[in-house]
């Protein structure tokens, strides 16, 4: 069970939250001009790193706000929590730098 610090409400139990998957995935600017393979990649494929991953979480049973969280997929250690629209530097051992340059 994780103890997650909501940027607004402070530390709360994991059961109050919903995980929204990998963060900072940029939707193609012009989907109509994007070929099927590229759009399928955006739609279905995820980085799935072994290590630090940035994810969207929603405090769904609390303030119902979305925020970003950086978590180790190996240890579940939470290394960073930041609000939507923010894009802090990657932690030293982040494993998916390519993904983190995208738009939120």
């Amino acid at each position: 069970m994780l103890l997650i610090t909501c940027p607004w409400c402070g530390p709360r139990d994991e059961i109050e939250f919903t995980c929204g998957g990998e963060a900072h995935r940029a939707r193609p600017q012009d989907p109509a001009a994007t070929d099927d393979a590229a759009f399928a990649d955006f739609l279905f494929m995820r980085t799935n790193p072994k290590g630090l991953q940035r994810e969207r979480w929603c405090h769904s049973q609390g303030c119902r706000r979305w925020f970003n969280l950086e978590r180790s997929t190996i240890t579940h250690e939470i290394t960073r929590i930041y609000k939507m629209g923010e894009q802090p530097e990657a932690s030293a051992d982040a494993t998916s730098p390519a993904r983190q340059g995208g738009q939120p």
């Binding site: 607004w8 409400c9 530390p11 709360r12 059961i15 109050e16 049973q61 609390g62 303030c63 119902r64």
Partner: protein
């Protein structure tokens, strides 16, 4: 262990700790659509002042959901002028003035509680004052039931099904929190050090929450429930 029926309520007591439920809990629970659905007596609850654990249902207050931008000074000043009350800015805090209580729900969202029936004119006054402002005023009076749990063991009763840190050092009077109680969404408001908790479950969940609370209260302070 005196247990007896008085009027429409059953009083259950042992060593001065007692609580009360409707005389036929299940049939009362079926009346969930009524104004006072659960048959818990607010009057009897008031008479229970000084006892160690009591649960009551109150008539649900008039409730408005207010959304607006705290950075917009026009919004803040106009809303506060109508409410006669500050908007709580700190997460999970409460401001009140007169019969109005404003609970923080989010950085741009508040729950305004007023006397039952008072929500209609309050909404009209808010909408009129905030006509030119980017806000949302929504009547949510039918959304939640209103329960009150009071007594020295209240924190322990809630802690059985609530992951929130309810220790007096962490959760103080004047705090509110949207959290989970017994796997259902719950809005909690701690009124005083008694401690007295106001509980606002979703209305359709209220019968379940009351049944859960009655069960959770059983083994506290020797309270004994005899359903017969």
């Amino acid at each position: 262990m005196p247990a007896g029926t008085g009027g429409s309520s059953i009083f259950l007591a042992l060593d001065g700790a007692w609580f009360l439920i409707g005389d036929d809990l299940m049939s009362e629970l079926d009346r969930a659509a009524c104004t006072v659905p659960l048959g818990l007596s607010a009057k009897a609850f008031a008479e229970a002042a000084g006892t160690r654990l009591a649960l009551a249902e109150l008539v649900p207050p008039g409730a408005l959901n207010l959304r607006g931008d705290l950075a917009d000074h026009g919004f803040v000043s106009k809303a506060c002028a109508v409410l006669g009350c500050e908007l709580p800015r700190a997460p999970n805090s409460v401001q009140s003035a007169g019969e109005l209580t404003v609970l923080w729900l989010g950085p741009d969202e508040w729950l305004v509680l007023t006397a039952p029936g008072g929500e209609i004119s309050l909404a009209e006054r808010l909408e009129e004052a905030l006509l030119e402002t980017h806000v949302a005023v929504t009547d949510v009076s039918g959304n939640r039931a209103h329960l009150r749990l009071k007594g020295a063991a209240a924190r322990e009763v809630l802690a059985k099904g609530c992951p929130l840190d309810l220790h007096p050092r962490m959760f103080k009077p004047g705090s509110c929190a949207q959290t989970v109680l017994a796997r259902t969404s719950m809005l909690l408001h701690l009124l005083d050090d008694a401690p007295t908790f106001d509980l606002f479950p979703r209305r359709s969940f209220a019968p379940y929450v009351v049944a859960w609370l009655v069960d959770a209260m059983r083994d506290h302070e020797g309270v004994f429930l005899n359903a017969a």
